[in-house]
Symmetry: C2
Subunit: 245 residues, 2 copies
DNA sequence: TACTACATCTCGCAT
DNA sequence: ATGCGAGGTGTAGTA
């Protein structure tokens, strides 16, 4: 593919807010929050209508280089090849792509107003605990699932029959050291703010790493096994077609 | 584009370990670590030679759905449309894409043996501190930059003239509450393992959030302003071409 | 804008 | 395989 027709496609795609994807041989220089250089090789480059850009190598889930939305893009001739420059004012990020060979490109206006319906998040887990308090303990009375309020970002907050305040931190997967220190921070914050000492810290997760459990015990907190719910209502009835694999 | 030729391209691309990208109208169902559903809309789908797959909506940096490497892919006819199913045994992840319209596709074998050279990471920052110990304090004597060793993941470890052990935790950006709790964990671990009490905790970062600084002071640790170096040697000489923007 | 925490995080490294 | 932490993390939600 020649550069001139590439440039036409590129300009048109940006003007019409299309999604633009192409294969090329390029080298890449990044400068901003860090600095990076990627020597010559074949890559796929994807540019969306919001001017996000990502460069993909032939393997791996994550782009090897990218620019976030809110930047500017410019394609220009430079000596024997083309140069695609991106600049993001907010992050002060620069990306320079030197394009040696253009292979193919594809462009299309995508119409998509849908949003992902997702269940099985940490929020779903804390909702479920609110509705099933005995999963924490027999006498646990949840008061609130306060996220961004006065006491911070506690997943589930309540009390028990002995008058203890109870703080529950949820983790969807194996709870680790970070989860324990996070819980500890919340418990200490409550003790400080409320001026009380009867505060219980509970870590709720399907599993916990040995180190995390040791630390948890050492600080007097407890772990409760809770498996997060993750069934979409609309898919409950359909059985998954496992037969295909 | 008709489905039959699409299927041929798809099979060939997978067989030849090519990178395969196409535009289509589809709906998506995900089940595994969580559950998700995305109703009908136009998307770009990218499949790489390692069988990673990602579905992109017309905006945003991150794919709305994806599958990691190590899975299986299968395209098959299903009633009036096609269905692209993916299964990842390790994660027990299922992804079903129902394709209503195929627009265009592009496939190519990408040759790329390059790896990203990156500087300005937390490791570079701790290296720099090792070589410039006075950035921490006048009498700081670094002993080691131990990452994955017996004492844990301490960025820089050393001592001062008064015989204190000194633990430095580096953050490349604004240090937050997490950074402080992380430092605290390391300090307490050292106190426990070494059986000493003269341990100083230092958080090194270019900036620190107010909450984090409060907590740091409360626990008796200190913050040192360190701006991480991030210039690639090879790019030191070239001045960045800011003129283009 | 800054701060906080989640994420189907991904990725690499060490045990 | 699991545990742990970094990441140019990105993204959402809130003060």
């Amino acid at each position: 593919m020649d550069f001139v027709s590439f440039q036409k496609q590129f300009d048109l795609a940006l003007k019409k807010a299309q999604t633009f994807v192409f294969f090329c041989e390029c080298s890449i220089q990044y400068s901003g929050r860090a600095e990076a250089f990627l020597d010559r090789g074949d890559r796929l480059i994807l540019i969306k209508q919001d001017k996000t850009m990502q460069i993909h190598q032939p393997e791996g889930s994550t782009p090897i280089n990218y620019m976030k939305a809110g930047g500017e893009l410019k394609l220009q001739r430079e000596n024997k090849h083309y140069s695609l420059k991106a600049y993001h004012p907010g992050d002060k990020d620069y990306l320079d792509i030197e394009i040696y060979k253009m292979y193919d490109c594809l462009t299309r206006k995508l119409e998509d107003g849908q949003k992902l319906e997702l269940v099985g998040t940490e929020r779903d887990m804390s909702d479920w605990i609110m509705q099933n308090p005995t999963s924490i303990s027999k006498d646990f009375k949840p008061l609130s699932r306060e996220e961004h309020t006065k006491f911070g970002f506690i997943d589930v907050f309540g009390h028990d029959r002995e008058g203890n305040l109870v703080i529950v931190e949820c983790k969807r997967y194996t709870a680790n050291l970070d989860a324990v220190t996070q819980l500890r921070r919340y418990v200490e914050k409550i003790i400080e703010l409320k001026g009380v000492k009867k505060v219980k810290g509970i870590l709720a997760s399907p599993t916990i790493s040995p180190n995390a459990e040791n630390m948890l015990k050492k600080w007097g907190y407890t772990w409760v096994r809770v498996v997060p719910p993750k069934r979409l209502e609309r898919h409950n009835k359909k059985q998954h077609s496992l037969g295909d694999f």
